[in-house]
């Protein structure tokens, strides 16, 4: 960690944001005009609100390997990867072949097909969890987790971490990005609604604790343990950069949950298949009762999965609780997921991700050289630069960060051929197994010129 850091001149940053936005606008003439056409039929011109980040939505034409092209023909190395889905790269030949082959055999029957078992076997091998079911998104997966925890325990109360997102169904749309004004005391955080239109009763039935804080969890369980159905946690907290769990934290949470007859669930929608071959379960050696996957599982097709111990899925196995969905286990999705897990995201692939990471760590030298108030963290395909000298340890650490700095960093990369997810105050990057050394170096070089510009 750097001992002394420069102070960033925010006026300079604002000036540069203006310049970089103007430069970006000039490159995105077709995106800008298409947005107006699309807005006639789509609110905001997009199909998801998180596709309309300022200054304007960017319409993508195609992707191949580690690159994407927007409809203006701009070419980027893709570190966005569809919010962390495309760790296998775009249009991977094996996935393309699997999709093209399956589509001719029919893609939907709402009946079981054989590929689902192969995917489940793979998931078992990677996590040790024996039983699996499928869905169509991370939202559906965490919705199923919540239902199963409540049904199994006969209790209503959920515990989540302050500042994490687990999909957009009501039960977990609580304290996702609470503001400093709403969040309440650190040792007793408020349950803050993340959206309008939540069912009343949601806030009373979901409470949160800070990440990496064992005492807070112990205190909550001591007070309300007998009401708690279970806890949902991202084992690597990924909406404020990449926040790693302190040693022993996850294991201790599991023990606390079990001591109180509550269940312990991982949301590995983002960390699954990206932070390690076996996700966070492998990386940190803690097995939860239930786990949710989505994103990278389907190799670019809408998918989700839940896994669990035999006890945790007992009611589903016995038919006492239906876990359902017309498209669950969709044969096209399963065909893509099967090849993704058996032939693409193999153990070797994670060696390559580490090599890319070692190039990206060149950013640390730049941070040191310019004495930037920043720190870097990576875990396999996931990484982030936090605009803070000490890495982010919990959600509230974000409040002191001025989001103009990461906004400028994002614009800077976009204008120089690197596509990244927006809102980098709380979004990490995702690399892909098909990135070249040059692709990785481009990020570092851009970061170097950015560091130069803001410390001038």
């Amino acid at each position: 960690m750097s001992t002394e850091t420069v102070e960033i001149d925010i006026q300079l940053v604002e000036q540069l944001i203006k310049e970089e936005t103007a430069a970006l606008d000039a490159k995105h003439a077709r995106s800008l005009s298409y947005r107006d056409e699309a807005a006639v039929r789509l609110p905001g011109g997009v199909s998801s609100s998180w596709q309309m980040w300022p200054p304007h939505p960017i319409y993508i034409d195609r992707g191949k390997g580690s690159h994407v092209w927007d409809i203006d023909g701009n070419d980027y190395v893709d570190y966005h990867n569809g919010y962390g889905v495309m760790v296998m790269g775009h249009a991977h030949p094996k996935i393309v072949e699997a999709v093209q082959r399956r589509v001719e055999l029919g893609t939907h029957f709402a009946q079981p097909t054989e590929d689902a078992l192969i995917v489940a076997e793979q998931l078992h091998e990677r996590t040790g969890l024996p039983f699996w079911r499928f869905g169509n998104s991370g939202t559906e997966a965490t919705l199923d987790l919540v239902r199963i925890m409540r049904a199994t325990t006969g209790r209503d109360l959920l515990v989540k971490i302050e500042g994490t997102y687990h999909g957009h169904h009501d039960a977990l749309m609580v304290s996702v990005f609470p503001s400093e004004a709403d969040a309440g005391p650190a040792d007793h955080p408020n349950s803050v609604p993340q959206t309008k239109g939540l069912a009343p009763g949601t806030l009373e039935n979901t409470v949160c604790v800070p990440f990496n804080d064992v005492e807070a969890a112990e205190r909550l369980f001591a007070e309300r343990g007998s009401e708690i159905a279970g806890m949902v946690i991202e084992p690597v907290m990924t909406n404020c950069g990449v926040v790693l769990p302190d040693p022993g934290y996850l294991q201790r949470l599991k023990e606390i949950c079990h001591q109180h007859g509550a269940m312990f669930s991982f949301d590995e929608v983002k960390s699954g298949f990206t932070v390690a071959w076996g996700g966070a379960i492998e990386a940190f050696g803690v097995q939860p009762d239930l786990v949710a996957y989505a994103k990278a599982l389907g190799a670019g097709l809408p998918c989700g999965a839940i896994g669990g111990t035999e006890d945790a899925l007992r009611m589903v196995i016995d038919g006492d609780l239906d876990q359902v969905g017309t498209f669950n286990g969709n044969p096209l999705t399963m065909a893509a997921a099967k090849v993704n897990l058996t032939e693409v995201l193999t153990k070797d692939a994670y060696v390559r991700l580490d090599e890319i990471n070692s190039i990206l760590h060149g950013c640390e030298d730049i941070i040191a050289k310019h004495k930037l108030p920043a720190s870097m963290k990576t875990l396999s395909a996931k990484g982030s630069i936090d605009w803070r000298s000490e890495p982010i340890h919990s959600y509230r650490d974000l409040w002191a960060i001025d989001d103009r700095v990461p906004q400028l960093g994002w614009l800077w990369q976009l204008n120089r051929g690197v596509f990244k997810s927006p809102g980098s105050k709380w979004e990490s990057w995702t690399t892909s197994i098909v990135m070249s050394d040059q692709d990785a170096q481009r990020y570092v070089d851009n970061f170097a010129s950015f560091a130069e510009a803001i410390t001038n």
Partner: protein, 458 residues
């Protein structure tokens, strides 16, 4: 509609026929039955969704083509199940195969907008008469968004729904989906029954349940709880007890009552959209709601959903006051399949074809019912139809409660043993047609039904 002097079913006979047909089916399904034990090791219950496992055993599918389907025992079927009504385009339709094969090499997921969106939005606006659309991944996600839109725009919390309808598996609408008669309470004030364990009663209590086809019931709820009602969600043709059509004036009456109360009307057209007609039930019954939920048929066999609404309802989303979001929303592969489905396959002229086959089904089945004096009648519109085992019209869920489900189970077994694949579970015979279905397919269905009729009435 109903036949004169219908026969009375002999349920001892039906039980023995069920036994006979199950015994006949089992040897044909050796591979499925054996595979279930294998799949059980890693897939909870051996299936990817609980509703893929119906008695007597789960059936594992190998492939489909057009109107045909093959299970892993290589039995061939004419498919009237069509993936719970999603595959009205038929399996592996060349236009959709081409669209997917073309899109896959260009990348299938960016979590960024792509250029197919406005074309699909335009087509849906043309069909359903609502100006603005967003996309998602399932019917469950679509009705979740519809519920939130109504609550967010009114600042009210109560949702009115119909007793006995399914709108996806999120907490807000998993209420009184198929309530047990012992729990459902009086008809003039039905109980709000959580449909599954794990749904806190506090969420069920935010739903007021009313019978279908009863405007007075809605009037009464509004009189009681008016200023708390955000909106009502309804399947404009109720689909989980056969195909129950709305009576004249019902849908318009709902819209008028709700609007007068400052509440919204949402249609769940997950099952009826682009199947009953080009513009779904909205077109058939001529009443446009404030919100429409779509899924199933519009994705051509890929996981998809869509939410259409008025500009008023979407204004907070446009302004960014609240987010309607999802990583896979508008997935380029889904959108490519959807564009081919809506623009190339389910064109206005195919609905004449559905109506022609629907007529062949109805005429044939009605004639069998007539000749064998079955206490049953036929109903349906476009690609959706059903035989309802009742002499008096089923107008709402409670009318279907007393129907003995052994009848539809036996009819299902008869069809399965004779080359017709149909969806299980329902107390009614429900079918879906695809653009590939022919009069010969209708005849095969009717002939099997006649064998069933002969067996139960002899």
């Amino acid at each position: 509609m109903a036949v004169q002097d219908p026969i009375e079913f002999d349920f001892d006979r039906i039980d023995s026929l069920i036994e006979r047909e199950e015994a006949e089916l089992e040897p044909k399904r050796g591979a499925s039955i054996a595979y279930r034990a294998v799949a059980d090791r890693f897939v909870a219950g051996g299936v990817a969704s609980s509703w893929q496992d119906s008695p007597p055993h789960a059936i594992y599918i190998d492939r489909g083509k057009g109107n045909r389907l093959w299970d892993i025992d290589q039995n061939e079927y004419i498919d009237f199940h069509l993936g719970y009504g999603a595959m009205v385009v038929g399996h592996a339709h060349p236009a959709i195969v081409e669209a997917i094969q073309k899109q896959a090499p260009l990348g299938t997921h960016f979590a960024q907008p792509t250029k197919q969106l406005d074309v699909i939005g335009e087509n849906l606006a043309d069909r359903f008469d609502l100006p603005l659309w967003r996309f998602c991944n399932s019917g469950t996600e679509a009705t979740l968004e519809a519920t939130r839109l109504m609550r967010a725009n009114t600042g009210r919390d109560l949702i009115v729904k119909i007793e006995g309808t399914y709108h996806g598996h999120h907490d807000s609408l998993m209420v009184s989906v198929a309530p047990d008669p012992a729990d459902m309470g009086p008809r003039d004030h039905p109980a709000s029954v959580p449909q599954a364990l794990g749904i806190p009663q506090v969420f069920a209590d935010l739903v007021r349940v009313v019978p279908f086809n009863d405007l007075d019931a809605v009037r009464a709820v509004i009189a009681e709880e008016g200023d708390r009602i955000a909106g009502m969600i309804v399947e404009p043709a109720m689909m989980n007890c056969g195909v129950i059509l709305p009576e004249d004036g019902y849908l318009q009456g709902l819209k008028d009552l709700l609007h007068a109360n400052g509440s919204f009307l949402a249609y769940d057209e997950v099952k009826t959209g682009a199947t009953l007609a080009y513009g779904g039930a909205t077109e058939v019954f001529g009443v446009t709601p404030d919100v429409i939920c779509l899924a199933k048929a519009i994705g051509g066999g890929t996981p998809c959903g869509a939410i259409g609404a008025t500009r008023e309802l979407y204004q907070p989303i446009i302004d960014g006051t609240y987010d309607m979001a999802g990583t896979f929303n508008g997935n380029p592969l889904t959108m490519a399949a959807s564009a081919a489905t809506l623009l190339e396959v389910l064109t206005p002229d195919v609905y004449d074809g559905f109506n022609r086959i629907d007529k062949a089904m109805k005429d044939g089945l009605s004639s069998v019912i007539e000749r064998y004096k079955l206490p049953a009648y036929v109903t349906g519109v476009g690609a959706k139809g059903s035989v309802i085992y009742s002499t008096k019209p089923v107008r709402e869920y409670r009318d279907a409660v007393g129907i003995d489900e052994r009848l539809s189970y036996l009819a299902w077994l008869f069809q399965q043993n004779r080359g017709v694949f149909k969806s299980p579970w329902t107390k009614q015979e429900t079918w879906t047609l695809s653009v590939w279905h022919t009069e010969d397919d209708a005849k095969a269905y009717v002939d099997n039904f006649e064998e069933f009729a002969a067996a139960v009435s002899s």
